[in-house]
Symmetry: C2
Subunit: 304 residues, 2 copies
């Protein structure tokens, strides 16, 4: 049996409005987008919490995609809720309402039999919870990796906690604004190098419609973005990128720089698909064939 | 004898302040940066105007670089003057003072013997002047191209004139904000396609620290940016990109999509060098060997 990649993050109900339509209380959250993206490459085990209002059949749908949901607790109360809006400049979300609900007291617990998993993706949640999960995992004997994503909210509210957990991981993901904010320097190359100095062997700066950058001690890589003409809903694109990337790294069990470059393109391919529909609409529909096709398109976008 | 590329644009005196120092009334302007960049590849003929205060020996320095200055008029009065400032987020210039001076009544005239030149770069100036120069040129028998750069100021003040001249050219250069503004659409891929619909065979959207995009009817290309850690003064980077690009296209006399991709990387290589020093400091110093070295670095930045 192939080993699971353990993914911890939020499970949410999202109400999203964009210039092209809206969705009301659709399932979302960083761990859901990430897990679906990772599942194109690797078996996934998702760790999270949902409330009593969470749609009953959804976990079974994840299971069918090879996603183990034993680590999802169901608690009394309501599921984490987010209401957001995108205007014509569709790259920036405006948060209208955030209700932590059951997430407020979430105490993540990795099922015992999954604690020896070699691959761990700490998707975007409170760095205190990320650290808790990290502590529950058994020491890796060989191979494997821990990747971590974060966001401006945690950098602003728990900066030291974010830094603590970054020291313990292999692959750091964050977006350009967050990198500037965390390291207090406007130059992304310098911010990337500062991040490397904290411990990770690979630092990936996500730039949305401008692609993504990879910094390692030896080299620099710039992943292009896909020239999307119809961005319908960018919610979850960063999580898809992280999930696709870590899923591919888990499948190949190879965190060499060259393989991380490939993994970034797979992550970008899935994220670009995701933006073309509302909520999870596209992720539910596409197959690895669609992902591979877009991966190859990325090659032609980049050649000179 | 190799044919000249004719470059028309501004010749300026710039006073620039950045967090790393300042320069007082240094020579600049779109045609000067562009011509120096183009001169790595091709003989250049520059068309412009300077005032009585313009430093006497400067044109002779351009001549030594293979830049013909017969098309530069010296008029009574002062040279076009720009005072600008960059703060810690060094990507955006703040204009503090702009004095058109002799530029206000500039009536460009291409010397008769240069009017048969096959290669023309209309660098950033008033679209009315760009059109005037275009009209003076003799019809091309075979090969060659006209490239055009513009800026937000002209899009805001002379939108219809900008559109008129875009209809008559082969290669359009503009930055991302300008593309969004000119075509009134936030999506760059759509803006790029709208631009193609107006006539140019290649539309290049410059994104500063995020690289550049190429749109042709058949394909899409994304040029990475160079991971500069020490941006000292970005003044003229867009002009260096345009000059390097058109200089390479003139040298090769090949506007095929594949060659435009290469030309974009050469333009990026020169622009990235330029940002590492004040004003023209770096352009005066580097050689084609430095440009080729950086071109090769760009290959390693985008491989996967």
């Amino acid at each position: 049996m192939k080993e699971h990649i353990v993914i911890v993050g939020s499970v949410a109900l999202d109400s999203i409005t964009t210039p092209f339509g809206k969705i009301n209380r659709g399932v979302g959250g960083s761990s859901v987008y990430s897990s679906l993206a990772a599942s194109f490459f690797s078996p996934v085990a998702i760790i999270g919490v949902v409330g009593a209002d969470f749609p009953g059949g959804f976990l079974a749908k994840l299971n069918k995609k090879g996603i183990n949901t034993d680590g999802i607790k169901r608690e009394p109360g309501k599921t984490f809720f987010w209401r957001g809006k995108y205007s014509w400049d569709i790259s920036t979300a405006i948060s209208l309402d955030t209700q932590l609900n059951v997430f407020e007291k979430f105490d993540p617990s990795v099922p015992e039999y999954l604690r020896a998993s070699k691959h761990l993706f700490l998707a975007n949640i409170d760095p205190v919870l990320q650290k808790k999960v990290l502590k529950q995992m058994k020491p890796r004997k060989s191979g494997g990796f821990t990747a971590l994503d974060t966001m401006n909210f945690w950098i602003e509210h728990k900066r030291e906690k974010v830094k603590e957990v970054i020291k313990k991981i292999d692959v750091l993901l964050l977006n350009d604004g967050e990198a500037r904010e965390l390291f207090e320097m406007p130059n992304l190359s310098r911010a990337g190098k500062s991040a490397l100095g904290m411990g990770p062997r690979a630092v990936i700066i996500k730039k949305g419609e401008h692609g993504a950058l990879l910094f390692t001690r030896a080299a620099h890589f710039s992943a292009p973005s896909y020239p999307l003409e119809n961005v319908v809903d960018p919610t979850g694109c960063g999580d898809c990128f992280g999930g696709g990337l870590t899923g591919f790294l888990a499948k190949t069990d190879d965190v060499s720089e060259w393989n991380v470059r490939k993994a970034m393109i797979y992550g970008s391919a899935i994220a670009s698909h995701n933006a073309e529909g509302f909520g999870l609409e596209v992720l539910k529909k596409i197959s690895i064939v669609d992902v591979e096709r877009r991966f190859n398109e990325f090659k032609s976008i980049r050649e000179f």
